[in-house]
Amino acid sequence: MLLFLNVIEDKVLQSRLEEAYHLYKKDLLYVANNILNDYHESEDVVQSAFIKFADYVDDELDVKCHKTKALIVIIVRSRSINIYNQRKKRPTANIDDLEEVFQDDVTISPEVNVLRLDRTHEMAKNLSEINPSYADILTLKYTYEYSNTEIAGMLSISEANVRKRLSRAKKALKKIIEGGETYE
């Protein structure tokens, strides 16, 4: 009986992963290819994203909901940007900046928050335009409620980098809310 249940459980998880793959493979290739402009590299990114995504597939996952689709897109996009940066040989973030980042005060006055509650889509869009990874990291941390370790694994970056991006994302959002044009 236990063996039978195990087989059923395996089949359920397997079909969920396959379902997600068949539903979103084109979207994911499109997202990766838009950044990398290389079909083979895009294919590799989709593969690595699915390997990571498989860790988060359980019997409670709703494959067809927007949240699941957005999660895989965020993973693919982040990994694609990493590869793009490596290709361009951009310097990676200096860990020495961290101390300064941690000391930053990113608190926004409550009055400002209340005023901007009806404009969250616009805010998110602005944040994403400044740097897509800022909106992604805030979403993974506060909407999906993943830990820094989990986010680091998903996006293939270090935990220190996760903390740094989070802090920068908050600072950027604060600028946007307070009426700043752009932030980098």
Binding site: Q14, Y30, E43, V46, Q47, I108, A124, T139
Partner: protein, 242 residues
Amino acid sequence: MSEHNKSSEDSMMEAYYKMIGEAHIDNIIEELEKDKNDIDKMTVPKSLDNWLDSFERRRKKISNRKKWLKRTRKLSSRAAVFLVILIACMTVVTMSVDAFRIRFFNFFINEKENYTEIEKREDVSNQGVPDIEVENFFYLSYVPTGYSFKSYTTLGDSIVIQYSSDEETIIFNQSKGDANYQLDTEGAEIRVVPIGEGSGQLILKDDRIMLFWSINEESFLIQGEASEQEIIKMAENLKKNK
């Protein structure tokens, strides 16, 4: 800013970030919807589909192995507990029930007897052939220390040999053919005991012991005040005068 206010503000900010995240998810979906025509035109390489198949197979294999290991560990610990309980139960039963204990220890005793059969046995004889004026007779080549041949009596086909110490007497009775012994067994304990390759009946009454056994057409009876082991030893050391 007080600790309480700081904590409330952090919670509020987290809720706000969550809303931003939800809006970001909507934006991602909206952007993909906008590009739907281009996305539909994308060709998915066959190699990607093949990769998924092999990835799923690998994943299933690993998952099955993990489950098998988990089940094996679980079963092993249960089997170990079961074995410990079984051994404990068998030990308790063996030690507390007479029948099991005798069978258990006899197993080892028998094994030991089998082992000694291939060794040279020590000659326990301490008695020579008694001076009896009968042609064929049996005598006890071993009697307990202090005893020696005292006298004999013949009654038809029966011969009664008496061995005595300073205080006690052992009587050895042998009969050829049909013999009729009338033994006083009232209130006595009667047991079957092994004698060499055969067996005899041991009768214990008060301080006295009687051992009755037969070989072919001869029947024997030893009685006296000796220990059970001594009586059996005497019977096992039965010899004929020729």
